[in-house]
């Protein structure tokens, strides 16, 4: 099976999940919905954490560059999983959940910076002009800011009104940084086209775009005049897209490390 087939399979899995999720959610009672939402999100985050841990262990955790990025992804998703469990299923654990969100976002920013800087760390460059690189970075930063603006402004308003919960503010700020890093990830993937590493960066970028869909669904659906069900469906699809594609990237990386550099998948 080629990388292309795996990517098509992952896209099909996201679409299938989105359809099944909408049908299931519409069919279940209002009491069951929060439990279903919580279980679905915790399960997907746990899958990414497990895949990241596998990749990090195969690349020697902190002992080599690739391993460090996967270690940070593992830390971020493991802590996000714990935070999600605390938020959804443990009453009175909001502070602990907030701390988890902040810690996970810091780790995630570190992971994305390391991954986006791979070319620089390797002593390579994109082969693109400086103007093109700057333009791509500015466009992705503007999109990131537009997607996160609502969340940042409402969290800031809440903070200045005396609600000292940093999680809701730090999370979208971290999202701006990670979404802005889509530009170097895309440029790296584009430069690597024709090689196996293209798929690693392309799948990771697709997963990150999934987080953008998750974050931006509220704003986009609201502007389009969609319902709250449409917002939830958009967020869940983005969430699944992010988790499926990022976990797949990590699994493929781990698999290649074990089966050798020439393993197709």
């Amino acid at each position: 099976m080629s990388f292309r087939h795996v990517a098509i399979g992952a896209a099909a899995a996201v679409i299938l999940f989105a359809i099944l999720d909408s049908i299931l959610f519409a069919a279940m009672g209002t009491d069951a919905r929060p439990i279903y939402n919580g279980l679905a999100r915790v399960s997907m985050l746990a899958i990414v954490a497990a895949a990241a841990g596998l990749a990090a262990s195969r690349f020697g955790w902190w002992s080599e560059y690739v391993g460090r990025a996967w270690t940070l992804f593992f830390a971020a998703y493991a802590v996000l999983t714990i935070g999600e469990v605390l938020k959804r299923f443990v009453t009175g654990a909001s502070l602990a959940s907030e701390i988890c969100v902040v810690a996970a976002n810091i780790a995630l920013v570190g992971a994305y910076i390391m991954t986006a800087r791979s070319f620089h760390a390797a002593g390579l460059d994109f082969g693109a002009s400086r103007a093109r690189t700057v333009l791509a970075s500015l466009v992705s930063f503007a999109i990131a800011l537009a997607l996160c603006y609502d969340s940042i402004s409402s969290a800031w308003a809440s903070l200045v009104s005396g609600n000292l919960a940093p999680g809701p503010l730090i999370s979208p700020i971290a999202d701006v940084v990670t979404f802005a890093l889509v530009a170097p990830l895309l440029l790296t993937a584009f430069a690597l086209r024709g090689g196996q590493q293209f798929w690693m960066f392309a799948l990771l970028t697709t997963g990150t775009i999934g987080w953008m869909v998750n974050q931006g669904s509220g704003t986009i659906v609201r502007i389009a005049g969609g319902s709250s069900e449409a917002i939830r469906a958009g967020r869940m699809t983005g969430f699944a897209m992010a988790c499926f594609f990022i976990a797949l990237t990590q699994w493929l990386a781990a698999d290649r490390a074990v089966r050798g550099a020439h393993a197709n998948v």
Partner: protein
């Protein structure tokens, strides 16, 4: 094997992982670091080029896969 083919063969082996554009750029960049051009890579300076490529490849694909690729380059260029 002619001298010119050595640089091309290294790029060809790297292109499986890095794609043809980055592979060619990597050979050019790291050949330059050992004081040669891509066309000047011979069996004599191939070990130096392999040593120069190693840290780059470790960052891009990891330590063990890098050793497999560099070992294959050394073997196939003989």
């Amino acid at each position: 094997m002619s001298d010119v083919v050595v640089g091309d063969l290294v790029a060809q082996k790297l292109s499986v992982h890095l794609g043809p554009n980055v592979a060619r750029m990597a050979v050019k960049t790291f050949a330059g670091k050992i004081g040669a051009s891509s066309a000047e890579i011979t069996m004599a300076n191939l070990p130096q080029l392999i040593d120069a490529l190693r840290p780059m490849l470790v960052v891009m694909i990891g330590k063990e896969p890098s050793e497999a690729v560099l070992g294959e380059i050394a073997r196939d260029c003989r």
